[in-house]
Amino acid sequence: MMLLLLPVGLLLPTVSGWLTLRLVEKEHPVLLNLERWTLGCLLGTTLSMYLSFLAHIAGFMSLSLTGFLGIQVSYFLLVSLLWMRFHVSWHVKPVPSLPKNVRLSKPVTILLATLMCWTLLKLIVGAVILVSTPPYQDDVFNNWNMRGKLFGITNALTLEFAIGNDITAVGGVSSYPPTVSMTKTMLTDMARQWHEGLANSIHFVWFLCVLILVYCTLRRRMPAAWALAGVYGLSSLPLFFMHGVTPYADVFMAAHIFAAVSMLYGAVSAQSDEHSASFLRLGALATGLLVFTKNEALLLYLPVILLLLVFILRHLHAHDVFGEKQVRRTVSNFAMALLLVGAPWILFKLAHNLPFGNAKSVSGLEIAWQEGVAYAIIINTFFEGNWALLIPLLLGCIVFFQKESLRSATVIFTAFFLLLYIGQLPLFFFTGLSTEALNQTGYARGLVQIAPIGVTALFLIVHSVLSPPTAAKD
C-alpha cells in the first residue's frame, strides 16, 4: 500500500514538469505526448528537488513534507499561471508528423510481441525485486538511501553525519548533488516513516523514463516496430537492466543525459527552424538540470554537450536554418540554464569544500601509465556479460556505415558516445582512477550512463541502412 504513495508523490512534479516543457516549447511543440509526460516526470521531479534545494539553503524551508509540498505547490502555481497567461495568446502549431508505420509480416509481429512480453516479464520481476528486497549494494546503504534517510531525520541537507566509527569514513558522497536522496526523502516523508520499498521505487520510474524516451526519439525517425526494437535493445543490456532495478543513480543520470542529447539530435533532424529552436530550448533546460544529477555531469558530460551545441549552431547557421539572432538566443538560453542551476550548486560546493570528482577529488591526480588497465577494459567491454553485443555491433556499424553514423543527424549520438567513451579512457590509462577500471568499479558505470545513447545510435544507423526513408504521415 505504501507504494501507492509513489504516484501521489510524483503527481505535482510531473504536472508541473509537463507545464514547464509546454512553456519552453511555446507555440511550436515538438515532443510526442508520451514523451512530454515522461520528460515532465523526469525533469519535473529534478527541477522540484532543485527548487527545494535552493529554498532550503536560502533558509525558506526545511526538508520536511510541508517544505517539499510548499515548494511543489508554489512551482505548480507559478507554471500554471504562466501557462494560462501564454496559452491563450499562442497560435500553437501541430506537432511534426511521425513516420508511417509499416505492415509487419506475421512472423515478425509474433517475434516482436514475444520479445515485448519477455521484456515486460523481466521488468515486472525486476520491479518486485527492487521494492521488496533489503539494501544490498554498497552505495545504497552508504550513499543514496542513507542520505535520504539522513535528510528525513534531520529535515536538513546534512553534509556531515556521525558515522559512529572513527576508522571507516563516508566522506566523498556528500559531494554528490542531493537530487536522488532528496526525492527519496520526499517520498518517505509522505509515508511518515522510512520505507525501503517506497524509497527504491523511484528508480524504476527513472528506468521506465529512459526506455520511453528512447522509444520516442526513435519513433520520430522510424516506425513504431523499429522504435520498440530499440527499447528492447536497451532493456536487454544486462548491466543496464541490473542498474534499472537497483537503487543506484546511474540510470537516473543516463535518463538526464539522454534527455539533453536527444533534444540536440531533435534540433539537427527537425524540419523547420522553429522546431529546431524548440528542441534547443528543451535541450537547454535538460542540460541545466543535468548539472544537478551527479558530479560526472559537470566534468564529463557538460563539456561534450556544449561542444556538440557549438557544432549544431554552426551547422544550422551554415545551412541558413538559424540566423545570428537565433544563434545568440540559443546560446543565451543555455548560458541562462547553466547559470541558474550550475552557479548556486557550484557556489554551494565551494562554500562547503565539497570535491568535484566522482566522490574522489579530481585535483592532484598524478599522470603515469597504469599497468593492466587495457586488459581490464577489454575484458569488461568485450568478454563479460555487461553489454550483450552492443559495443562490437555499434563500433562495427560506425566503421562500416560512416555515412549513416557520422555524416547524418545520427552523428550527435555517435559523436557523443565516442567522445565520452574515448575521452574518458585516458583517465583510466594515466591517472589513479585506473583502479576504477582494474577493480571493475567505475568504468562500467560510465558506460551504463551512456548506454541509451549507444543503443539509439545503433538503431538509427541500422534503420537507415536497411530501410529507405519513410514518408511522413499526412
Binding site: K122, T133, F141, S236
Partner: protein, 393 residues
C-alpha cells in the same frame, strides 16, 4: 587466479622403489573414461610407484605421505582412456607447493612434465579439482600421472580420480555450461560475468566459483559467428552487388538472433536469481528467511534497531567490517555503531556471527579469555554468537 607453468624434469629416473600390491587395474573403474583410486580405510591401491624417499603409512583417512626430500607418487595409466580432469581428495595441515606430473608422448620415459599445484590446508578431508585441459602441454592420453611433493611435507591422500570425456560429451557440457548461471553478488552492480563455456563437468561446476571464472567467455563464440556472418555478407555483396539489400537484411537477422540468444541467457539468469530470492527471502517468514550471502542479517539488523532505539550509540561486532558496519548503521541510524575501543556512552553490544564472543559465568562478555564488558544480560539471542547484550546500569 592460479598461475600455471610447466617444467620438464627427470625425476622419474630417481625412482627407487615401487609398490606392487595387486593388479594394475584400479579398484573400481567408473564408466569407460573414469578411474578412481581410494586410499581411505587403510587400503593400499595397486600399481603406485614412488620416487624420492617418502614414508608411506595407511591411515583410516587415507595414505599418509611424509617426505624428507623431493618425492613423486605416481602410477601408469591406460592410454586408451583420455584424461581431462584430476580430482584429489586430501588432507593437509599446511600449504604444500606440490606438482602434477605426466609423461608426454614421444619423450623419454623419465622425462616428465610438471604443472604446479598448490594444496591448501584442509579442515578434515578437502578436495581439489584440476581441469587438465587448461594446461597447454597436457597429454590427454598420457601413460603416467603423479603427484610431486616438496621436501619436508606431509599429505594424506584420500582418493584420486581421473576422468575424460569424448567430443560429443564435451559439446553437451559446453551447451549446458552456457546455460549455467552466476548468482547476484555485490559486484554485480559493476560487472556481470555473463555466459562462459566449460568443456568438463568439473569445469562447469566450478565455473563461477573463482574470480575471474577459469573458463572461456562465451562471447568469443558469438564473435566468431558474427565475424563469419560479416565476412559472408561482404563476400556475397562483392559477388552479387544487386543482392546487397537482401544480404544486409540477412546479416541484420543473424545479429538480431545472436542478440536475442544473449538476452534470453542473461534474462533467464536474472529470473533464476529472482526465483532464488523469492524462495529464500520473499516467501519465507521473518526469522526463517535469508538474503543471498548476507544470511539473516536483515532481520538481525531490524531486531537490533528496535532494541537500541533508546540509546545514542552501541558497540557492533561482526566477522568483518564490510558490509556489516555500513548496513547496521543504515538500519539503526540515527543510533550509530561504534568500535569497542572508542570512547562513548555505549552499554549495548550488538554481536553478529561472532561465536568467540560469549557470556562468561560472571555475566560479562568475553572473547578468547579477554573480558569485554561489565556484567549484564542478553536481550535477545538469534543464534550462538549472534545476540544483543546490555550491561547492567
Amino acid at each position: 587466479m592460479k598461475r600455471m607453468y610447466h617444467a620438464s624434469v627427470n625425476i622419474r629416473s630417481l625412482l627407487i622403489g615401487t609398490l606392487f600390491l595387486g593388479a594394475l587395474a584400479p579398484s573400481h573403474a567408473n564408466a569407460m573414461r573414469s578411474a578412481e583410486w581410494s586410499f581411505a580405510g587403510e587400503t593400499f591401491e595397486s600399481g603406485w610407484e614412488v620416487a624420492g624417499d617418502p614414508s608411506l603409512t595407511s591411515t583410516p583417512e587415507g595414505l599418509r605421505i611424509s617426505t624428507t626430500v623431493r618425492s613423486l607418487f605416481g602410477r601408469s595409466v591406460s592410454t586408451a582412456d583420455p584424461i581431462d580432469t584430476i580430482s584429489l581428495d586430501y588432507k593437509a595441515d599446511d600449504y604444500i607447493e606440490a606438482g602434477i606430473y605426466w609423461h608426454e608422448k614421444g619423450r623419454d620415459n623419465d622425462d616428465l612434465t610438471k604443472a604446479s599445484l598448490r594444496l591448501a590446508p584442509t579442515n578434515g578431508v578437502g578436495s581439489i579439482y584440476l581441469d587438465m585441459t587448461k594446461y597447454e602441454r597436457w597429454e590427454r592420453r598420457t601413460d603416467f600421472i603423479g603427484i610431486g611433493l616438496p621436501a619436508d611435507s606431509e599429505l594424506i591422500i584420500n582418493r584420486l580420480r581421473v576422468q575424460g570425456w569424448n567430443p560429443v560429451e564435451k559439446l553437451l557440457v559446453a551447451l549446458r555450461s552456457f546455460w549455467t548461471f552466476d548468482s547476484i553478488r555485490p559486484s554485480s552492480i559493476n560487472f556481470l560475468w555473463g555466459p562462459h563455456i566449460a568443456f568438463t563437468p568439473i569445469g562447469r561446476e566450478m565455473m563461477f566459483k573463482s574470480t575471474p571464472p577459469m573458463e572461456q567467455s562465451a562471447n568469443r563464440y558469438f564473435y566468431i559467428v558474427m565475424g563469419i556472418a560479416v565476412a559472408w555478407t561482404v563476400y556475397g555483396i562483392k559477388k552479387y552487388p544487386a543482392r546487397k539489400k537482401k544480404a544486409m537484411s540477412t546479416l541484420a537477422g543473424v545479429m538480431a538472433a545472436l542478440w536475442i540468444t544473449y538476452d534470453i541467457r542473461m534474462g533467464t539468469e536474472f529470473l533464476w536469481n529472482a526465483k532464488h530470492d523469492y524462495d529464500t527471502y520473499l516467501s519465507k517468514p521473518i526469522g526463517q528467511r535469508t538474503f543471498r550471502e548476507r544470511s539473516f542479517f536483515t532481520d538481525f539488523a531490524a531486531g537490533a534497531a528496535s532494541l537500541v532505539q533508546d540509546r545514542k550509540e552501541y558497540v557492533f561486532l561482526a566477522p568483518q567490517r564490510w558490509p556489516y558496519l555500513g548496513l547496521i548503521r543504515y538500519y539503526t541510524y540515527p543510533i550509530v555503531p561504534t568500535e569497542p575501543e572508542q570512547d562513548g556512552t555505549k552499554d549495548t553490544w550488538v554481536v553478529y556471527k561472532r561465536p568467540d564472543v560469549i557470556l562468561n559465568p560472571k555475566n560479562q562478555l568475553e572473547s578468547r579469555g579477554v573480558v569485554l564488558t561489565r556484567p549484564g544480560g542478553i536481550l535477545h539471542e538469534f543464534e550462538t554468537g549472534t545476540f544483543i547484550f546490555r550491561e547492567q546500569s
